[in-house]
């Protein structure tokens, strides 16, 4: 039984694979993938997760919408969320943090950066 469950919400299979590869270095972690915002919302509201890594630009439902819906759920207000996106502008970062994201990483990512952020956010749970 995994100690922590992490949800990756990302439409690019390449990025999902890279994130899974990075997160597998954490011990006792189960990683679940979602391919767009709607899929992510379904998963996060039907199961418990200790951390969500969310892309912003996705089809069906974008990441910002997903974050605001997650924070609207009483039982998900405290779940750590890290945004991983190509959007590097300060206003994009500010917007995501205002909506409730805890961390903001820009692509291209370094796997050890993702690992460090994930470890820090999981420690809060």
């Amino acid at each position: 039984m995994a100690n922590h469950r992490i949800l990756i919400v990302e439409d690019s299979p390449t990025m999902r694979q890279l994130l899974v590869f990075a997160l597998k270095r954490l011990k006792d972690v189960e990683v679940v993938e979602a391919q767009d915002g709607m899929d992510g919302l379904r998963k996060v509201t039907s199961d418990h997760f200790d951390l969500a890594l969310v892309d912003i630009n996705m089809p069906v439902m974008d990441g910002l919408k997903l974050i605001s819906l997650i924070r609207g759920e009483d039982n998900l207000k405290e779940m750590p969320i890290c945004v991983i996106t190509t959007e590097g502008a300060q206003e994009d970062r500010d917007r995501a943090l205002q909506l409730g994201a805890n961390e903001y990483l820009t692509k291209p990512i370094q796997a050890n950066n993702v690992l460090a952020v994930a470890k820090a956010l999981l420690k809060r749970t």
């Binding site: 890279l18 990075a22 291209p108 796997a111 050890n112």
Partner: protein, 276 residues
């Protein structure tokens, strides 16, 4: 009367018992006292003797100095050992950082290679190339060209950051991209005022030729990078090399497969027609 006598005897016995315990306790205290007096006298005697004998003092001083020298020497050895351990630790830490970085790079290359060869659908292969260039390299405006065997030129088939129609067709061997495809080498250049798309008059800063065994397949032309990316790293150079080979193979294989599927389907149709 006998009851009174018995009670009296009991009380006398109790008092005697208390007296006996008191006597034993007093005896113990007197013995301790005697022992402590003896120790005190011995210490006083040693102190008096030491103070009176100059030779003993000198010997003691000599012993202490020798012991100090020995301890100083041990300290110097330990300090040296500590410094060498610290230096080794630093080397291990630097090596660990190098290995971490290498690991990161290998992960990127593995994922890119895996994804490129995970499909035999030409449009999916193109999509994977776009994903790699956006997510792993960090390009903002770029285009994927395919080689046109009829006229030898390059035609834009997929792009990011600008519509495909904005990217010009490149005649065979011409320009930065055409030349790089002829040479079969990744070409990079720094442009002043770079980072603009083709419609804004921008020029590509990177050209990745896609070739399979000298056979031109196409090219990837990068015009600009995401704003958070300041330049190209060693990993990016590795990814360019990987794309030059593996993306070309992926596109070629998927096109061949797609063509053979169509031919197979046509032949099957004929056979069904003839046999029906």
């Amino acid at each position: 009367m006998s009851d009174d006598r018995m009670e009296f005897e009991d009380r006398a016995e109790a008092v005697l018992s208390v007296f006996r315990r008191g006597a034993e306790f007093t005896k113990e205290i007197l013995e301790d006292n005697q022992r402590l007096r003896a120790e005190l006298n011995a210490v006083r005697s040693r102190h008096q003797n030491a103070a009176q004998d100059e030779g003993d003092w000198a010997k003691l001083r000599e012993e202490l100095c020798s012991r100090i020298d020995q301890l100083e020497s041990e300290r110097a050895t330990i300090r040296q050992h500590l410094q060498s351990v610290e230096s080794e630790n630093q080397q291990f830490a630097s090596r660990y950082v190098e290995i971490e970085e290498e690991n990161n790079n290998l992960a990127n290359l593995y994922v890119a290679s895996y994804q490129l060869h995970s499909t035999l659908d030409p449009s999916e292969a193109l999509k994977v190339i776009l994903e790699i260039v956006i997510n792993l390299i960090g390009a903002e405006i770029f285009c994927v060209y395919l080689h046109d065997p009829n006229d030898g030129g390059l035609r834009a088939v997929a792009s990011e950051g600008a519509p495909v129609s904005h990217f010009p067709t490149i005649p065979s061997g011409e320009g930065f991209v055409g030349q790089s495809l002829l040479d079969g080498e990744v070409a990079t250049r720094v442009l002043s005022g770079g980072g603009r798309g083709p419609v804004q008059g921008g020029e590509p800063t990177v050209s990745i030729p896609l070739r399979v065994d000298e056979r031109p397949i196409g090219a990837i032309a990068i015009y600009s990078l995401l704003q958070q990316k300041s330049g190209f790293s060693a990993l990016d150079q590795e990814l360019f090399t990987l794309l030059a080979g593996h993306a070309a193979t992926a596109l070629f294989a998927s096109q061949l497969y797609s063509q053979s599927e169509r031919k197979l389907s046509t032949i099957q149709g004929f056979i069904d027609l003839l046999t029906s």
